[in-house]
Amino acid sequence: VSRRQLFIRLLLKAAWVRKDRALTALISVAVVATIATAGLTVYYDLENKLSREFRSFGANVVITMRNGNLDDSVLSAINSKLSGKGDDVPVAYAIAGGPDNSRVVIAGADLRHLREMNSWWSTRTLDSAGQALVGSRAAALYSASGAPFQVQFGANKIQVRPQAVFTSGSDDDSRIYLDLPDFTRLTGMQPNTALVRIDGRPREIQAAVAGLMAALPEAEVKPIRQITQAQTSVVGKTRSVVLTASAIVVVMIMLCMIATFTSSVLERRKDFAVMKALGASNRTVNVLFAAEASLLSLAGAAAGYLAGSAIAFWIGKANFEAAIWPQPLLLPPVLLGSVLLALLASTAPLRLLQQIQPAGILRGE
């Protein structure tokens, strides 16, 4: 048997003969790798996942023309800046007279589009053939039963047939939204405001707002700060909680793993003494123990990476209804970190053993 064959045989036999010991060490490494992988994978994807949730907040930017209308060139400039990551609804506002001659704000927009944007509205559909969305307060005043009513602007009049009544808990509740062509026919006005929803992470939204400001010098671009700031703060805080908690858990479990490893090496002091008594050098013994630790931890880390990725995937599916995909970039640091830790945990007790005479250990002292 050559030296090399003997070495490999010792290595594999040591693991195989005492399967339970090897398994314990393997599990302790795998647990560390699992939690590190799961925590970091979730952390990496969290900003995306949470920002996706914020889409349902609707418009987070309002663009108003200082003079003139929101014509096609401005709209296409907005759309090119959004480049598919967001949506916009042009709206026109005017003050009209209600049936009792009181003043009411009427607005014109693409109604289907507006309802999509304001998905948080609680709406009650009255007549799918109608062409107006009536705010709940306006509806209570003008058309409690949903019957058509008249609105006038200057000398023009229009019969408003409510499609639905909505509640928003904002100024919109006092407004009447007409289909844009009806609105234009009544008032002769074109939209000068756009409700814009920019999708993305807080940083991307900021960049898009800055881009819009630069591209539209003739318009006022105003982020709705209660919404954008809430997103920044929620996403930031959640990320730091996940990172801090995962870091703490990983450090604790790591210490646990070191304790486990250390005791499984100390358990083998007899093996160590026999080898030394048979003439093995300190170096050979060190290399043997180190190789064993690396092999075990490599297997454990690989298993842990798989398990951690699976946990992250499942958290995404179960909680965010969208998978959190594995991060291949995490694999090298997880493998390397686990091996380094295992080496550290197994060589420290070896150094301790080397100070004792092999004969002493064999006698059981």
Binding site: D20, R21, T24, A25, I27, S28, V31, A38, G39, K49, E53, F54, F57, G58, V62, T64, Y93, I95, G98, S102, R103, V105, W120, R137, A138, L141, T167, G169, S170, D171, D173, T193, K222, I224, Q226, Q229, V234, K237, T238, S240, V241, V242, T244, A245, I248, V249, M252, I253, L255, C256, A259, T260, S263, L266, K270, I311, W314, I315, A318, F320
Partner: protein
Amino acid sequence: MFFRLLFESFRRQKRRKSLALLAIALGMTITTAMLAVGNDVGDKINEDLRRNGGNLLLTPIDDTLDVNIGGVNLKPASEGRFIAESDLPKMKGTFWGHNIKGFVPYLSDLQQVRIKDQLIHVEVIGTYFAQPLHYGKDEFTTGARSVNGWWKVEGQWPQDYPAWPENQPPDVLAGSSLARKTGLALGDEIELRGKKLRISGILNTGGAEDQAIVAPLHIVQQLLAKPGEIQRVVVSALTKPEDAFGRRDPSKMTPADRDRWYCSPYANSIALQISEALPNVRAEQIRQVEQTQGKVLSRISGMMLLLTIAALLAAALAVSAAMAATILERRSEVGLMKSLGASNGTVASLFLTEAGFLALAGGVIGFLAGALLAHRIGQTVFGSPIDVQPVVMALVIFAAFVVTFTGSAGAVRKAMRFDPAVVLRGEA
């Protein structure tokens, strides 16, 4: 004999015992910290959001419609009804009064203001900045400074004058767009209805306030001759995300369901309680804020719950592995005891009693360390500590027992399966 063995085992095997104790304590630290953080994170983020704007809107009932375009109130203050300012503290007396973190009243009107010898139409908004109030013995401070977290002031926030100051003109804020357009600077004076006001700060909100003068409520009430009256109030209340039950109409519920609904902090039930306490007030959730934030919050809580479960399982596995390792190491002891005539039961009870002591000590140490950690995590991330409920301690110690016993039981059974002679010869 049993106790002597137990005692000596702790005295002589200090290293082994301390490694096992370390592992249990660490596992229980994780358990405590994660339980506390996972349980509290939703509340903490909710509180954070409540410093970032209100989620309920109060308006007077039987009002004429709001005439408001682009955030600018175009309805003259002479029209419509008002809410009595003196009623506002009553909100604190409602069932969920403690969940009401703050409120900001508004009274606004378009006015002619003389700025640098120019007469211009500007919206003048009156509000609380940090108004001290009391309800019964309960004293609190509320206003835009604590509720509207995105309002940024360059210069000084004005004080909330109880009455018109005699010696010098009262301080007000100028919106940033208005200041830019008119060249207003800190310390400048403006004139409104013959009264002088001093600009103490430039306000930047990103909203309609940027083009307005924002002044203490009592000053605006005097200017508009509307003492004690306000047009709307934005309330910031800690709420529970709405579920199917929360969305139901309370007027169609059975009395028991209605009680349960009334005593849950849903936005709708808090709104109902406010409208019961304040006469002639319509309270409504600001749906863009409330509906969507509730959704995000439940996602975050859900995620933390899943991460907590994963961490607890990991801690359990790690502790079990550590316990198994320390016992496997001692199989020659098992062999020796058995060859001296100890029964399997005696050996098992000796090992398990040892494990029990370790679990108790590890559980207590881990609980204390975990509580400390949770406290620190709260401080660093949220600026306020996360407190651990004492009941978690019982839970953690119980968990410590379960985990150490499962970890040791397997290893002890395994150690006893071997023939003592084989073990003692070192062949197992």
